[in-house]
Amino acid sequence: MLEFFLQPWQYDFMQRALLASVMVAVVCAIVGTYIVLRGMAFFGDALAHTILPGVAVGYLISGGDRGALFWWALGTSIFSALGIGALNKHAQVKEDTAIGIIFAGMFALGVALISTVRSYAVDLSHFLFGDVLGVSSGDLWRIGLFGALTLGLIFLFYKEFLVISFDETLAATLRLPVGVFNNLLLVLLATTVAISLQTVGVALMVAMLITPPATASLFTRRLPNLMSAAALLGAASALIGLYISYYVSVASGAAIVLTATAFFLLGLAVTSITAKSEKK
């Protein structure tokens, strides 16, 4: 029995995969709490997809160098986040339409760029769905450093983000710099997207951002509890997902996301059953 649980971790690549996916899951869950509370799920999904052309350019220029890819991902992500944010204020079409157009266009550009390379099917699938088993120690350092920075700022400005997310008018009458904090939150989301690229890929990233907080919101009533529960659920999804991936040999990113989804469905079932029994 113990053997069953320990066996995957005798491989270094599995240890790195676990560390990376747990760190990413925790950062995603905590940043994602604001994405859920502010109704920005579509924005988060779009943002993840828009970094593909940047990653593709980095890939074409520097080949397989992970460090370089990360910086390209981070740069594109921040640029897209602030760009979409600014566009929303001035758009001639509805906000979600504008986001959809940019998101699909950028994504197609990314696919087109990557398709110029011969081995593109494999590489593209890594960008789309992640390659957590290929995490290097350099990746771990980048995830750890930027993840810690992101969480640090989230906690440092906890009360400001709380006020701005709950009631922007109050934030304005308290004379908080609302625009600065909104943009800071977008930059933190962009950073989260960049560090998650390797683990779950652009196509599945939104699940890591919104599913654990959504599950946690089913049974928590205060923000600190919601964030902690979301982080725990995210980390547990990463761990269980990697076990599934190891023993059933399915793609690890998909396994992690499916585990998180299962937690959500379970939570939904439990809360609706308890709600019904309370009514009786």
Binding site: E160, D167, T169, L170, A172, L174, R175, P177, R221, R222
Partner: protein, 266 residues
């Protein structure tokens, strides 16, 4: 006044000046005019109902006074300086504008009123907690402090936002339709709370649909329909010819002498 948020030091209060002075204010959106040439002023402790039909510009007026939205023309000043320099303006939102599932307790929401005073990296201090406690006590919500906000009744939700404005040490409170959708005991409770606020010298600007309530419970009426139709005591501002100007001819008159049973709803 305690020092707070170093990013935005609060403007000085010139108490020689009225608490609110609106001069020739206009707000234009692309294609239409929301407010045109509005001029009036309020003194400390006044209690004014803002009435007018839907789309009359009540919410826009509040946003400009709160310094959340810039005017297209004219000027608003709070104790002699621009509203954007003041953290003493409390905005009490319409209940329909609030996300009630948000994971915060009543106490959390009231504590939000202290955020500017805590400064950029500050945490709640003893003084902040005491303010919050006192505010909750004033609105009689202390026993509910730990509840999630969706668990409050409509009247309690409204009182929670007033407590938040008290915690903010607001001297001018702007309330957007606070009585709308409340049952009559809750309305009574809220009107009593307005008395308490007035005793504490808080200046109140309250948007309402209910002309009868406006006539009975407010010192002055500001009758608005994009332009300022009338500003003054109820008997003057709610006179039939004024109401016709604001609402068109579709409205009966209001009994401004006193207290009819039927509540006229605009």
């Amino acid at each position: 006044m305690t020092p707070h948020s170093s990013l935005h030091p609060e403007a000085q209060h010139d108490h020689e000046q009225p608490i609110l002075d609106v001069h020739n204010l206009s707000v234009h959106y692309t294609g239409h005019t929301a407010l045109q040439n509005i001029t009036f002023h309020l003194h400390i402790g006044e209690r004014v109902a803002v009435v007018g039909p839907n789309g009359a510009g009540k919410s826009t007026l509040f946003k400009v006074i709160a310094g959340v939205q810039p005017p297209s023309g004219g000027a608003v000043s709070i104790f002699g300086s621009q509203p954007s320099g003041h953290a003493c303006i409390g905005y009490v939102p319409q209940r329909s504008q609030v996300d009630w599932r948000f994971p915060v307790s009543v106490e959390d929401v009231v504590m939000m009123g202290r955020v500017a005073r805590m400064g950029l990296f500050g945490l709640p201090r003893q003084a902040d907690r005491e303010r919050v406690r006192a505010a909750l006590e004033t609105v009689r919500l202390l026993p509910m402090a730990q509840r999630q906000i969706a668990q409050l009744s409509g009247g309690q939700q409204q009182r929670m936002f007033i407590a938040r404005a008290l915690a903010q040490e607001a001297e001018l409170m702007l309330m957007d339709e606070p009585l709308t959708g409340l049952d009559s005991p809750s309305q009574e409770g809220l009107l009593e709370l307005l008395d308490t606020l007035q005793q504490q010298r808080v200046t109140l600007l309250v948007a309402t649909h209910d002309l009868q309530q406006a006539a009975e419970h407010f010192d002055k009426i500001l009758l608005l329909n994009r332009r300022l139709i009338a500003f003054g005591q109820p008997a003057y501002a709610l006179a039939p010819e004024k109401l016709t100007l604001a609402y068109g001819s579709s409205l009966q008159t209001v009994d401004t002498s006193c207290c009819g049973e039927e509540h006229l709803h605009a």
